[in-house]
């Protein structure tokens, strides 16, 4: 097996809050091979965005390792990290909030190049900006406009162009399409997939939308309250979900055809519990229809039940 491009080992991030320690990410392990897409799914507050930020060190981890080509980047100095950042970029969720309203499109796209000094001559930089705009499908005439003049889809394309400016190998996509309309969403997803094919990019694709994640990912990690409850290859996870939470998530997605109409769906009870000072054991147990006493007795480790398919549940 190839060494994965990026890998985490027991990655943890706790935030101190007045109520106690908030376990945002609590011991997550995953690996992504070069050129592949790892989908991270979960509901609000499950720690998926925190995980994305930890991986590229926009947040410092409390514990654990992030290995990039086998090297732990969490021990890098600031200088070395700046070099590293050229290889890893992020696309943010909200194309309205992630672009500086006082910068023009060309300034926004050129900023990473200027910060990392990969190009220095103004003409070269401008040429690069035009090249990037063409790559993401933005017309030349937008080069001197401000973000507020553009619609959501075009803004997200600016965000993508900015992420590509340093020719990275790895991009964290944090809900890149959830703020967009469906027809625009499809355009942006196609663009991301084309770019991956052309440039051999590796993605970590964070989303709450399961149909999007199935479409784009090769492997999927399902998170619940900071922990990975199940991970498998995309097709396997959808064909044969094991964890009760994965099942609940899948049956909760409204499907745009009538086959499921009038069938009673299994709606899981209750809501996500607090991530502050969680009790030991399975964190889903309070909502789980199959909960048993041993679920809350001690932490349940992730078990490999078939090749590449990991589940943390007492049922397996």
């Amino acid at each position: 097996m190839n060494t994965p491009l990026i890998q985490t080992q027991d990655l943890k991030k706790y935030f101190r809050t007045p109520g106690g320690l908030l376990h945002a990410v609590d011991g997550v392990n995953f690996a992504v091979e070069k050129g592949k897409t790892l989908g991270v799914v979960g509901e609000s507050g499950c720690g998926k965005s925190t995980l994305g930020r930890l991986v590229i060190r926009l947040l410092e981890a409390t514990e654990g390792k992030v290995l990039y080509n086998g090297e732990n980047i969490l021990s890098y100095s600031d200088e070395k990290m700046l070099e590293m950042r050229k290889k890893m970029q992020i696309i943010f969720q909200d194309p309205y909030a992630s672009l500086n309203p006082r910068m023009t499109v060309s300034e926004i796209i050129a900023e990473p190049v200027k910060v990392c000094r990969t190009l220095t001559k103004p003409d070269d930089i401008l040429e690069k900006v035009y090249e990037l705009m063409e790559t993401v499908g933005l017309a030349d005439r937008f080069v001197n406009t401000y973000p507020h003049e553009l619609d959501g889809g075009r803004r997200q394309r600016i965000g993508i162009a900015r992420a590509l400016a340093l020719d990275p190998e790895f991009i964290v996509c944090d809900e890149p399409v959830s703020a967009l309309d469906v027809s625009i969403q499809a355009q942006v997803l196609n663009l991301l997939m084309d770019l991956q094919e052309e440039r051999g990019l590796t993605y970590m694709f964070i989303t709450h939308n399961l149909s999007v994640v199935k479409h784009i990912s090769s492997g999927i990690v399902v998170m619940y309250l900071g922990q990975c409850v199940e991970s498998a290859l995309s097709d396997e996870l959808f064909d044969d979900p094991k964890h009760p939470y994965t099942n609940a998530l899948l049956s909760a997605i409204p499907v745009p055809n009538l086959s499921r109409r009038n069938k009673r769906r299994e709606v899981i009870r209750g809501e996500v519990t607090s991530p502050i000072n969680p009790k030991p054991g399975c964190r889903f147990a309070v909502r789980c229809p199959y909960a048993k006493p041993e679920c809350t007795a001690e932490d349940i480790p992730l078990k490999e039940i078939s090749k590449g398919h990991f589940v943390s549940c007492v049922l397996y």
């Binding site: 509901e43 609000s44 619609d151 959501g152 889809g153 309309d181 469906v182 027809s183 625009i184 969403q185 499809a186 355009q187 997803l189 196609n190 997939m193 709450h208 399961l210 149909s211 999007v212 199935k214 479409h215 784009i216 097709d235 959808f238 609940a248 998530l249 049956s251 909760a252 997605i253 409204p254 499907v255 745009p256 055809n257 009538l258 499921r260 109409r261 769906r265 709606v267 899981i268 809501e271 996500v272």
Partner: protein
Amino acid sequence: MEEKLLEIRDLHVEYITDDARVFAVNGLDLDVKKGETLGLVGETGAGKTTTALSILRLLPERVGRITRGTIRLGERDIIKASEGDMLQIRGEVVSMIFQDPMTSLNPVHTVGDQVAEVLDLHKKYKTREAVEARVDEILRLVGLSAERKKEYPHQFSGGMKQRIVIAIALACEPQLLLADEPTTALDVTIQAQVLSMMKELKEKLDTAMILITHDLGVVAETCDRVAVMYAGEIIESGSVEQIFDGGENHHPYTLGLFGSLPDLTHKTRRLNPIEGLMPDPTDLPGGCRFHTRCPKCMEICRSEKPGAIIGDGHMLKCHFLESRLPGFSKLSAESVTYK
């Protein structure tokens, strides 16, 4: 035929801003029968919310204006109704659930008081106890315990807040409920809970509902009829079976919407999005509004607005399909007018 509750004919709404006139709704026709759920589908800027606000006459003052058309709700003519009549209609006959439960509740009043407010305005309960008893009953109906009525909105989660908003909307058992993207801000598992609860309550109270959404999945699971909206018009409508039959006989925009969705059951390499963007509502294209993005665009589409054709309750506005659908006939002007 079932009784008609709401009838909108040829509705036009404009917003007037400093430098432009925004044509938000352009000749909309819509019917809702008693007790049915109509899904109003479309993308941002299609005019879905404007339509709902027009029914309540809640368009922003001095900016939004109904320029033409009729809205009939039962025996009432909404457009001619006085402001005093509207105060009585809102909440009692029609009520609305807004998209964002975080901002539609008042943060400085307890949730119990907010439910009681509607009752105080519309129902003449004699005693405080009677009001409180009804508040408890409604809260239990939406799955909240009555003990929590003394708490403030910030003490509830998003899904719970949306349940409170629904409780307020249903407190006076209105005939029509306008739900504007009621679950878009919620997580999928919570969305499933709220949707199944809304479905149950609707049946119990026999309320008609217009469900505004951009999620075709939600429509498939909850609606009886569907109307697809584009640039301020209904371009296709029919029963949920007709719209979701998976066939080719649909408006190109409807097909585009379906093509944009990643499918969970089939593996496709690429999605088929609709090219281009929604037209600028200050400067709408002539002819068919969709012609600039339409893969089936013909010469006539650029110059002439397509009329409605109808077959077995399935309505379409498309030149391309007009000659290709044998079972369909042109909708005559007479059959549209209200009798």
